[in-house]
């Protein structure tokens, strides 16, 4: 039975943090701590003296953790960037999933791998959720613009909704543009003229 590892997750979003911790629990019996506060981050991480630190690659606070890679005292354990390690494909996979790992020097790869795999799977899920959210939001926004453009046309030309949409679509096809782009142009122009 190997010793417990101490893992720190740097994540300001509470719900995401809970999900990450859950997935890490599935990867073994480790001590997992979450830091949500970015002020004094380097100090808080050092105090916990972790074996592994996980942080979202898109977090601007990542640069703060780079300080950990400089062993500034004889008692401090140097931390390696994951990139430096022999397992380059795991590093690539992690970064592409959106998570970066700082691992204390000398930790064996077979101990790191299950934790990284769990983190990578979780971050892939975050990524998918974000894409879905963005797509939904975009679709909603597009519909709103098209509805407004239809309204403008109905009023200006005295046509019904179907005719207004048909007109938008025809213009879009004639100009080789998307319906939403034509609608957007119309709404902007109307805004300028009113």
């Amino acid at each position: 039975m190997s010793q417990k590892l101490s893992i720190v997750v740097v994540e300001p979003d509470r719900e995401r943090a809970i999900l990450i911790v859950d997935s890490l629990r599935g990867a073994g019996d480790h001590k997992v701590s979450v830091i949500a506060e970015m002020t004094g981050l380097a100090r808080h991480v050092s105090n916990l003296n972790p074996d592994i630190v996980l942080i979202d690659v898109s977090s601007p606070s990542r640069d703060i953790l780079e300080e950990l890679t400089l062993a500034s005292g004889p008692l401090e354990r140097p931390v390696a960037m994951f990139v430096d390690r022999s397992d380059d494909s795991l590093t690539r996979e992690a970064i592409e999933a959106g998570v970066s790992a700082y691992v204390v020097d000398g930790l064996r790869p077979e101990r790191i791998k299950p934790i990284m795999d769990a983190a990578i799977a979780r971050f892939h899920m975050f990524h998918r959720i974000r894409l879905e959210l963005e797509a939904t939001k975009r679709a909603l926004e597009e519909r709103k613009v098209i509805d407004r453009a239809k309204g403008l046309l109905m009023k200006a030309r005295g046509v019904d909704e179907d005719a207004a949409y048909a007109l938008l679509r025809k213009t879009a096809m004639d100009q080789g543009r998307k319906v939403v782009d034509v609608a957007e142009a119309l709404v902007t122009t109307a805004g300028l003229l009113s």
Binding site: I64, L65, L70, V83
Partner: protein
């Protein structure tokens, strides 16, 4: 010439301007490049994107490729510096409270004399000042260690240089984590704009000509793709020449202000480009010569001595061998590629690969291929000189 696609990464800062201008004004296209620019959230992530091949070129802190060449910071990689993207451009600022204490002690914010400013700061700070920089390996950190070290502070032990991403600097200051900061444009001006602090010095007052950001590529990529590297270097060099014209500053500011780049008011950006900075919430203005250089004085030339000096300082602080490190830092600055790829554009290329850093107190004509090159002053405030040939 068919157009080739090139992925490049940058951090949203004023000195990313050569990339933005090369893309937006069309220099890249004229050189046969379609630049796809990716804004990175942090220097660490930009570095990883470059190492892992997500981008082939990056806007990078001049000390980062040197640190990687020395294997510092847990990452060892051979990254080459093809050119210098910007010289100077950082500012040191202090919290409003500290500024008030300095004023009360009789200090007048002249934004010029580094020795006087440094002594005033040390006198007003209650203990050793904690100063925020954007990254551990940066010209910001280098200049702070040099500056306060020259004034008698035992650097690095007695100096607390901590990493704080510029967007979080205000928060860190409010929380009492830092007393002062050294940041690049537009963050110094944004700090004044948001009432977070006051500007104390441009870093050019510490060292008149310090390589700030560089064009960084993987060594293997530079070797495998010489034609792409050539197109990129030429496009960026032409962009820097365009940026050097004062009449283009407004346009450049408007471009950089866009949401996909810096997303801050154009007026704040123009202060850095013109070197006319607002240093306090009372709208005091100071004009600084060579506040931020892109082109003049062969600014883009990747002097090997730039790399050697950064390496030597990093080695000193990390306990590595000085001479060996200086040579490793020297080797990644590719004066050879610069000479080969920019010669026929009419670039003023120095005849030498190295210079004695800190020797020029004023503008000086030097030997170049065309014989018309004038170098800008490069002196340190304390008269420090680094002779790369004096390394043994």
């Amino acid at each position: 010439m068919s157009t080739a696609l090139l992925e490049a990464g940058f951090i949203p800062l004023v000195d990313a301007a050569p990339f933005v201008v090369a893309h937006e004004i069309g220099f890249a296209e004229e050189e046969g490049l379609a630049l796809r620019l990716h804004a990175a959230p942090s220097w660490a992530t930009l570095r990883d994107m470059l190492i892992l091949g997500r981008v082939d070129a990056a806007h990078m802190l001049s000390a980062m490729p040197v640190a990687m060449a020395l294997g510092l910071g847990g990452v060892a990689a051979r990254i080459d510096v093809l050119s210098v993207l910007s010289v100077n451009g950082n500012a040191i600022g202090v919290s409003g409270e500290l500024a008030q204490r300095m004023r009360a002690a009789g200090y007048r914010f002249d934004f010029a004399d580094a020795a006087v400013a440094g002594r005033a700061l040390l006198a007003a700070a209650r203990e050793e000042p904690r100063i925020g920089v954007p990254f551990p390996f940066s010209m910001h950190a280098e200049l702070l260690y040099h500056w306060l070290g020259a004034l008698g502070v035992a650097a690095p032990q007695a100096l607390r240089v901590v990493t704080v991403p510029p967007p979080l600097m205000a928060q860190a200051m409010a929380a009492g984590e830092i007393d002062a900061f050294c940041v690049g444009a537009p963050w110094g001006s944004m700090a004044v704009e948001n009432g977070v602090g006051e500007l104390l010095l441009p870093t050019s007052a510490i060292r008149a000509f310090a390589p700030e950001k560089v064009l960084a590529v993987r060594h293997d990529w530079a070797e495998a793709e010489p034609e792409l590297a050539r197109r990129l270097m030429r496009a960026l060099w032409r962009a820097s020449k365009w940026l050097d014209q004062p009449e283009n500053h407004s346009t450049a500011s408007e471009l950089l202000a866009r949401r996909e780049y810096l997303n801050v008011p154009a007026e704040v950006i123009e202060r850095s480009l013109s070197g006319r900075l607002v240093i306090s919430p009372r709208a005091e203005i100071r004009a600084v010569e060579n506040y931020l250089l892109f082109h003049r004085g062969a600014a883009a030339y990747p002097w090997r001595s730039h790399g050697a000096l950064i390496a030597r300082s990093l080695a000193e602080r990390s306990g590595l061998d000085g001479a060996e490190s200086a040579e490793a830092g020297r080797a990644i600055f590719r004066t050879d590629l610069f000479r080969r790829n920019l010669r026929d554009l009419g670039a003023e290329i120095p005849g030498a690969t190295d210079k004695v850093e800190g020797a020029l107190g004023q503008k000086t004509a030097v030997a170049s291929e065309s014989g018309k090159l004038i170098l800008e002053p490069d002196a340190f405030f304390d008269g420090f000189i680094f002779d790369p040939n004096g390394e043994s």
